[in-house]
């Protein structure tokens, strides 16, 4: 199902959550809404789900006006950050909820729940209660519950935000695979740029209730539309009037007119790469990414004064 958002604005009291936002999501796409907290990304997702009503503007689902349609009739599956598990129901009953509401035959419900338990790898957990599951299992259960009535759109609000790093990484891969299998139109909200880049085909960068840029992850990184996107997506630091990424800087032995002096503050060995944290003469911090060989060859250590040359900078009007 395709989604179109047209000139949507939403206020909560004096806080402008969304300011004239328009967005098109193609049918079958896997889209991330990325932004810092308070950027309006969750509000936009909730408006698409019908859980929130826009002050102005409209939402179209498959081209049909749906702004006033209640969430029950939108055919969306929604996954909440804190799972919103039905605590008094077993895992099976949680997953079966949407099917029971639709009065599907008993045998069909049982078969569908079995299928979903397998899909989310919770076979054997059907008779447990949510309180007896780990965070990752609870969120997989919530996903199965949302998928059970076969929604035309899957909406996820910071789905992995409450989980620890390893489980989060697993579930990202899993979500990506799920999408490849089902091709359900999927929109998920995240404040983690790495997560957005890794999972989504298209990333919508939001800030202060507005959309800053909509592009594929690579385009977003290579051609950011403005300073906000440059600094929010991937690492970047100021260089003169422009911006530069840590891998577009090199440390050299001999100074010339293209280099500037900086002092090494810390050298971090992060497995396959070495990150060198430095400060310019004016005290502005930045970092340079080195390979292990480069670091060894340069013999950089904290306190040292080095010469830094940018290989590529980006300026915004």
């Amino acid at each position: 199902m395709s989604i179109q958002v047209r000139h949507v604005s939403k206020r909560f009291g004096s806080f402008q959550a969304l300011a004239d936002v328009s967005l098109d999501v193609d049918s079958g796409a896997l889209t991330a809404l990325l932004g810092p907290s308070g950027s309006g990304k969750s509000t936009l997702l909730r408006i698409i789900a019908g859980l929130e009503h826009p002050d102005t503007g409209e939402v179209l689902l498959d081209g049909a006006e749906a702004t006033g349609t209640p969430p029950q009739q939108r055919g969306v599956g929604f996954v909440f950050q804190h799972y919103a598990a039905f605590k008094h129901m077993t895992v099976r009953d949680n997953i079966a909820f949407g099917l029971k509401i639709r009065r599907r035959p008993r045998a069909e419900i049982r078969a569908r729940v079995d299928e979903l338990l397998e899909l989310v790898q919770l076979q054997g957990f059907g008779h447990r209660y949510p309180a007896q599951l780990s965070g990752g299992q609870r969120q997989r259960m919530a996903l199965a519950r949302a998928l059970a009535p076969e929604p035309k759109v899957l909406l996820l609000d910071e789905p992995f935000g409450a989980l620890d790093a390893r489980v989060r990484a697993e579930l990202r891969v899993w979500l990506r695979r799920l999408h490849e299998e089902t091709h359900t139109t999927t929109v998920f909200v995240t404040h983690d740029q790495e997560e957005a880049m890794e999972v989504a085909d298209r990333v919508v960068v939001m800030n202060k209730g507005r959309i800053e840029q909509v592009d594929a992850p690579r385009t977003l990184y290579d051609s950011p539309a403005n300073e906000f996107v440059m600094s929010f997506v991937g690492q970047a630091s100021r260089f003169g009037d422009g911006w530069v990424r840590p891998h577009d800087l090199e440390i050299v032995d001999i100074p010339d007119e293209t280099t500037r002096e900086a002092q090494v503050e810390r050298v971090l060995h992060l497995g396959f790469e070495v990150r060198c944290e430095l400060v310019w003469e004016d005290g502005e911090p930045f970092s340079v990414q080195l390979t292990r060989d480069q670091a060894e060859q340069l013999e950089v250590e904290a306190g040292q004064i080095v010469h830094v040359r940018p290989t590529r900078t980006r300026a915004f009007a």
Binding site: H82, K87, F97
Partner: protein, 263 residues
Amino acid sequence: MGRYVVRFTALGYLLVILLAPLSMLFWRIWEEGLDQAWAAITDPDTIHAFKITLILCAIAVPLNTVFGIVCGLAIVRRRFPGKGLVNAFVDLPLALSPVVVGFSLYLLYGRTGWFGPWFTGHGVQVLFALPAMVLATIFVSVPFVAREVVPTLREIGDEQEQAAYTLGASSWQAFWRVTLPSIRWAVIYGVVVTTARCLGEYGAVAIVSGSISGKTETLTLRVQDYYENLDQAGAYGVALLLCVLAVAVLVVMTKLKPKEGTA
């Protein structure tokens, strides 16, 4: 050391304030002889009073349970003008002396009250009859279910309900399948407290009922009746009956308490 002081103070306080009077009651029953107390309990007027008390509970408790849940949902989930006022008014019966409640009802349904003449004109006896006693009992036991339900509703939040909506449930279905089961322990606990309050109500009912033996007497009024007629053994007997009911309510309450955490 400080720990023992706290324990001793708490226990001593309970002993003197709560247990001593009740022990005295049991002691006296024992002294006067159980047969006298039993005679009072099996007196037809006492049995009638027992029935009246049960009828009042049977009407007031379900009504206030439904009202308490609706009111709790309105206070926690909805925004409407005058919400603060509703929230404060629910607690009014806790602050107001039951005597004042009884007196207000007496005035309202009396010969010169706003509602009194209308009912009298339609041949309905409100004062000194069951209707006024029901109204008084409902009035004093309004807050308890709402007070139990409100914090639980706040704690569980509305995400589960929203999840139910996105899964296709109507608000009615979401209420029955998700909200009510989540707050069930709070509701049950509120029902128990409401029942206890209805059983024990004296002041408001005393004023509007007229305390007519065998007609408009509740158990608490019956105790007063015996006491005023200097029939101490009778008073002990009925008081004992009320104590037994209270203990039954307490037992139900403590059975439910540990489960609060899982609600």
